[in-house]
């Protein structure tokens, strides 16, 4: 199990909470909340070790595309980067 944290300051805060997905095979759970301060914080717990560069690339691309401020928690059970991006967009759609 590995923990990865990605942060970026600034951005437009999300206004609502959103919860999508599940900790199930090839899937992930995303909890998205309005942030305490104007920054995006994504904390990942993943069951698959050794993919930190892929996680960083995926999450940084997401934050580049959507410059939001939010507290995001990801609980992952071996999701692919495509699945991760889809879940994040799904959460964002519900949270803004």
């Amino acid at each position: 199990m590995q923990r990865i944290v990605v942060e970026r300051s600034g951005g437009v805060p999300v206004t609502k909470r959103a919860h999508v997905g599940a900790v199930a095979s090839g899937n992930l759970e995303v909890l998205c909340e309005p942030p305490a301060e104007a920054r995006a914080t994504i904390v990942v717990s993943t069951s698959v070790d050794g993919f930190e560069p892929v996680w960083r690339a995926t999450l940084e691309r997401f934050l580049e595309r959507y410059p939001i401020a939010a507290a995001i928690e990801i609980n992952d059970f071996g999701a692919t980067p495509a699945m991760v991006s889809l879940r994040l967009e799904q959460a964002l759609e519900l949270a803004r």
Binding site: M1, R17, A22, V23, A24, S47, N75, D76
Partner: protein, 253 residues
């Protein structure tokens, strides 16, 4: 020609969508949602990522105007297994239920990573069901992909009524356990037709182990659930004598 309305599938819905679709519209209030972050403290130290609701959704809802407890086990997370936290959520909401409860069970039973704590939790759940059913209906729905096995099959059997769909499976030991314990001659756990033939919804309702069979359709399930609450006949209680009779009838000689 009017277009045929698409069925809303129970199997394809999430736990929260299932409760929302079955309860009176807009009435469900979740207790300890994922943002309460009541997840299992035992999984991380075993290298397993925890889900923030511990795979269990509980709350209060109205069902045909009755104030009931709503429970749904999420079969996607660790096979819908019951650990200390998820089990406690179910037991507490059943203990506080007013006019009955419905349980959407998609569970393999006890969570092996939490062993005895899961066992204790299921004992508490069984206790709460028996106490509640004396004064109000407690209805189980077994219609998900995982089915209902292990300790939670005992909990389901204690309910006033059990509603199943052909997708649902219901038995004490899951197929893999039977194969491991009794040998592949007894049951090949990869033989899906054999598994459904022995433990599927059609068979279980035919045998009288479950009460109502409905299609994999949320609207149909919602109607069946309301009917079960209206009729509320406590199914014939599990008793040793009844089990002996049934065994005598069904066991191969």
């Amino acid at each position: 020609m009017t277009p045929t309305a698409l069925r809303r599938s129970y199997v394809e819905s999430t736990s929260r969508e299932r409760i929302a679709a079955l309860a009176d519209p807009g009435s469900f209030r979740e207790i300890l949602d994922p943002f309460a972050r009541c997840s299992s403290p035992y999984l991380a130290e075993q290298g397993v990522v925890a889900q923030r609701d511990d795979g269990v959704v509980v709350g209060r809802a109205l069902l045909g105007g009755r104030d009931v407890a709503a429970v749904a086990v999420d079969g996607r997370f660790l096979g819908g297994s019951i650990g200390e936290i998820g089990g406690a959520k179910i037991a507490r909401v059943l203990e506080r239920a007013r006019d009955g409860a419905f349980l959407l069970l998609d569970t393999g039973g006890i969570r092996l990573q939490e062993a005895n704590l899961g066992l204790l939790a299921i004992a508490e759940i069984c206790d709460a069901i028996v106490a509640l059913r004396e004064r109000a209906p407690v209805v189980a729905v077994v219609a998900g992909r995982v089915g209902c096995y292990g300790g939670m099959s005992v909990a389901a059997a204690l309910c006033s009524q059990i509603i199943m769909s052909p997708v649902g499976r219901f038995g004490l030991n899951g197929p893999e356990v039977v194969e491991q314990e009794a040998g592949i001659e007894e049951l090949d756990a990869r033989d899906r037709p054999a598994i459904w033939q022995a433990t599927g919804g059609v068979r279980r309702v035919g045998q009288g182990h479950a009460d109502v069979l409905v299609e994999d359709d949320l609207d149909e399930l919602a109607r069946a659930l309301r009917d079960a609450f209206r009729a509320s006949p406590n199914r014939e209680r599990l008793s040793l004598e009844r089990l002996r009779n049934r065994f005598a009838q069904e066991a191969p000689r």
